[in-house]
């Protein structure tokens, strides 16, 4: 019953870039992507697939919590919610009702970097979906009553995913401590006091800043032809005027000069350890070697960290790593949940030792091969559904700058050598570059006192 879907989508997004390999797909499969840039600057990517009579339409806006400021943190995410709460033609509540009555469904997510809107629908709903999307991009309205109730919805979301979720809570504290200057330091959902104080003007300003068609990329995959999609775009989307994109985020996080540590005390059954290392942004060439390193350390029960912490020493219930897709230098986060009675520092020590082993001696040929194989299968997994493909094409276009890099990813992964893996572990996973966050169960501490 652990089915909070924002998690699985986050995972999907990570997989999209994280687990890609070898060009087998590109060679053996028909994978044509047709593109067009509309006069207002929106780029449209289309890939027909007639295996089911459905369509996945994703719109990526290059705006997220990194474009926010203190006092209005979480505004991008709140705005994302407001995009469903009424425009000129489809008033409050109409969008969802009309879409579902025509067999469609929708969702959206916001990250530090992007806001993504997703529609899944039978092809029969095609013109309608364009009418709905155009309406809200062009003529979004803000009803004060809706703002008030949606504010409560977002507060509930925050309670669900942060305040009553120890992993969410600790992760939030980790980001806030690892970044001193850059806007990655605050949570996507926003601080609770900011959630309580956004104004209508804040929303209007956000719309003007981030929602120019030229700041968006549309991806359509499914039972369609490129021609019909381009015609729909010309009719519904192209007339929407473009304006200036969000101002660039110019702040660069200064180099971290020593380990930072923080502790969260909370009633809990088990502790948590999270270690964040500053790493390069997604479009950096190190991206591929970093992912191979993470595979060797964390992917599957034969991975080094699993073998050491979960299996052999039985220090942790689970150990994993995540890297956010990011426009700016971001964090690689290692998360471990210590077993009952295990000192979190014992987990930390084992993690550092395993990192040191890779620094000291190259990984084996077998491990390198295994990591590459694992990424190949993950790639097929991701690409076998129309929604997975829409997400992956859009992710490469937005974060790598060109969807065609999807087809080179294979080459880039197979080019990774054992020496590359060793180089990135030395470059990023040092003590001075890490922030260590630990959640300690209050009840256990009291028992000790």
């Amino acid at each position: 019953m652990k089915t909070v879907s924002y998690r699985s989508t986050a995972l999907l997004l990570l997989c999209a870039l994280g687990f890609v390999s070898l060009p087998v797909w590109a060679q053996s499969q028909q994978f044509p992507v047709s593109t067009r840039t509309l006069k207002n600057g929106m780029k449209v990517l289309v890939q027909p697939d007639h295996s089911i009579p459905n369509v996945a339409l994703y719109i990526f806006y290059r705006i997220g919590s990194r474009n926010e400021h203190p006092g209005t943190t979480g505004l991008s995410h709140f705005f994302e919610h407001m995009m469903f709460n009424g425009a000129k033609k489809y008033g409050p509540g109409d969008l969802d009702k009309v879409m579902e009555a025509n067999g469609g469904s929708n969702n959206a997510y916001t990250s530090q970097n992007v806001t993504v809107y997703q529609d899944w629908f039978p092809r029969s709903a095609l013109p309608l979906i364009y009418d709905i999307e155009a309406d809200r991009i062009r003529d979004l309205t803000f009803d004060p009553k809706k703002i008030a109730s949606e504010r409560e919805v977002v507060a509930s979301e925050r309670r669900l995913s942060v305040d009553n979720n120890n992993f969410g809570l600790l992760g939030e504290q980790l980001w806030a401590s690892a970044f001193l200057a850059h806007t990655y330091q605050w949570p996507v959902v926003g601080w609770m006091s900011d959630i309580e104080h956004w104004t209508m003007d804040d929303l209007k300003h956000h719309f003007e800043m981030g929602y120019s068609p030229s700041n968006a990329t549309m991806v359509v995959v499914g039972d369609i032809s490129p021609e019909e999609i381009f015609q729909l775009c010309e009719k519904y989307i192209e007339p929407i005027p473009s304006h200036a994109p969000p101002p660039p985020v110019t702040t660069i996080e200064p180099e971290q000069l020593g380990e930072r540590r923080l502790v969260v005390h909370k009633p809990a059954e088990l502790p948590i350890v999270m270690i964040g290392y500053h790493v390069a942004q997604t479009n950096d060439p190190d991206f591929y070697a970093l992912n191979i390193l993470r595979s060797v350390l964390f992917q599957g029960e034969s991975s080094r960290m699993y073998q050491r912490l979960v299996d052999k020493d039985q220090l942790a219930l689970d150990v994993s790593s995540d890297v956010e897709l990011a426009f700016d230098p971001t964090l690689a986060i290692i998360t471990a949940q210590p077993r009952q009675g295990v000192d979190p520092q014992a987990c930390e020590k084992a993690i550092y030792e395993e990192l040191d082993k890779v620094k000291g001696a190259p990984i084996s040929d077998q491990e390198l091969e295994k990591a590459k194989n694992g990424r190949l299968v993950e790639f097929y997994r991701e690409m076998r559904t129309i929604s997975g493909r829409a997400n992956t094409i859009g992710t490469y276009e937005v974060f790598m700058g060109d969807y065609n890099k999807l087809f080179n990813a294979a080459k880039n992964y197979s080019a990774v050598t054992k020496e590359d893996v060793q180089r990135v572990v030395k470059k990023y996973f040092g003590a001075n570059n890490r922030t260590v966050a630990t959640l300690l169960p209050e009840n256990e501490e009291k028992a000790k006192q």
């Binding site: 009702k97 990250s111 504010r151 992760g171 993950e378 997994r381």
Partner: protein, 475 residues
């Protein structure tokens, strides 16, 4: 660090295993062709060729699940499944993982209430190796003592970890409170007490008693040649010795009478998580299609009555839904949501009002039309991949549901009228007899919730076990 707008979509789709529907529009969706045969040892095999992606999905269903766990040893079926990969006659746990990971494959085994499933996925080019590994785990596990001890201890900490997240354990408390000592009330992954009682001998016995070809359905879907696959299976799996398996039957539980409420105290909770309902329906209930249509309107999608009221109009919550977890015999029905401490009773009151309104007003022709279109339109992506398809045909085979479950469903959905919906509501949506489970801060919400039930039970979340409290559970 990604925040999403809705929680409902996946929840709604995952929930209706075995209750299937066809696609909208002129183009009716049908299950791709597949073949069925029975090996000499009694193993039922289903094969489905599916081209497009060079992957193969293997899915075995053993017709015994957590409902067969002996009382006091909850988690036995689950631990047995978990140990399949942890040592075979020819491989240690580490070798098995290394071999599977090397081909980029995935392997999982899990026990639900009715049955146990073992699944694997690998590239077509690795078919021989993948299949051999799969068979090795299912046919030749050795259950090493040290691996058994390890998995039991890990499972125990897994229960503790889950209790740190109310959302993760609400269903376990709800199932226990609703079904009591009936097998469907058992936590399928065990609890802090039961996992300490399980011995290796019991695991070996459970395996020997239940993992037999005659008690198993094996499905394979993906990019392969069916004739060659059949030959290969006959070569490798015919050697699995036939064994008689005792028939496990699960008695049907009548709906609970009256109103009772269980409050699980989590003193640091700032939000109350609640489930309300009663015993629901069996998978093969003749009303299953109509129930799905009505539940879509009531609590099965974003614009459902429940979500409209509790989220869209009032802002009480991030999400509210209702859900039939249909099983071999009637499984639980629940209304579930969460809200901040201060709005606990207003939110529950509102959920009850929505339920009353459903009973009073029924559903309109327009609501029906919308729900039918929604279910049909959202169905195709649920049978898009070979992994989804193989699971579906195997589970349908287990429950005795044919391909018509998919192929005829458009027709069956269209047959639902407001008059039929009215009957469905009266018969299947409980209103006067309700079981409540709340996880929250008792001192903040305690007194106000007494109005919902004549009988109130309460225990701290930190106490071992779920419900009923296991013997020896007092801390």
């Amino acid at each position: 660090m990604t925040r999403e707008r809705k929680t409902l979509r996946l929840l709604a789709l995952l929930g209706f295993l075995g209750v299937l529907c066809p696609v909208a529009g002129a183009q009716s969706l049908r299950l791709p062709p597949h073949e069925k045969f029975v090996l000499k040892n009694g193993l039922t095999v289903l094969l489905m060729e599916k081209r497009g992606v060079p992957l193969i999905n293997v899915f075995a269903l053993v017709k015994t699940g957590a409902a067969a766990d002996p009382a006091g040893q909850e988690g036995l079926a689950s631990v047995t499944a978990g140990l399949l990969r942890k040592g075979t006659k020819t491989r240690t746990a580490q070798q098995f993982s290394a071999d599977f990971d090397y081909i980029g494959g995935s392997f999982g085994a899990d026990a639900g209430a009715d049955f146990t499933t073992i699944s694997a996925e690998f590239l077509t080019k690795d078919l021989a190796r993948g299949l051999e590994l799969f068979a090795d785990a299912v046919l030749h596990p050795t259950f090493p003592q040290n691996e058994t001890d390890k998995i039991l201890a890990q499972s125990l900490d897994g229960v503790k970890s889950a209790k740190d997240e109310p959302q993760a354990v609400l269903g376990l408390y709800y199932g226990g409170y609703l079904y009591g000592s009936h097998p469907y009330g058992r936590p399928s992954e065990g609890d802090e007490i039961s996992l300490k009682r399980i011995q290796r001998d019991a695991v070996v016995k459970f395996y020997e008693a239940n993992y037999a070809p005659g008690n198993t359905i094996l499905g394979i879907a993906g990019e392969f040649n069916a004739a060659e696959m059949r030959k290969k299976l006959e070569e490798t799996l015919d050697a699995w010795p036939a064994r008689t398996v005792a028939n496990t039957s699960i008695s049907a539980v009548p709906p609970a009478k009256g109103k009772r409420l269980l409050l699980i105290d989590k003193p640091d909770a700032t939000q109350t998580y609640f489930a309300i309902g009663n015993v629901g329906t069996a998978v093969n209930d003749p009303d299953r299609v109509a129930i799905r249509v009505v539940n879509t309107i009531f609590g099965g999608r974003f614009t459902s009555d429940l979500n409209e009221a509790l989220r869209v109009e009032s802002g009480y919550t991030y999400g509210a839904r209702s859900f039939f977890d249909s099983r071999k015999t009637p499984g639980p029905f629940e209304i579930a949501s969460f809200t901040k401490n201060e709005t606990t009773t207003p939110a529950i009151d509102l959920a009850l009002q929505v339920l009353e309104k459903l009973h009073k007003n029924g559903v309109t022709e327009e609501q029906l039309k919308s729900a039918k279109s929604y279910i049909k339109g959202q169905f195709p992506p649920t049978i898009e991949t070979s992994g989804q398809l193989v699971r579906r045909i195997v589970v349908n085979e287990y429950y005795g549901l044919g391909d018509d479950e998919v192929n005829q469903l458009e027709t069956r959905i269209d047959a639902v009228t407001p008059a039929i919906a009215k009957q469905i509501i009266e018969k299947h949506f409980p209103m006067d007899n309700l079981v409540y489970v709340l996880i929250g801060n008792a001192s903040a919400i305690g007194p106000a919730i007494k109005k919902y039930a004549d009988k109130i039970d309460q225990r701290p979340i930190s106490d071992p076990g779920f419900w009923p409290p296991p013997a020896g559970a007092q801390k």
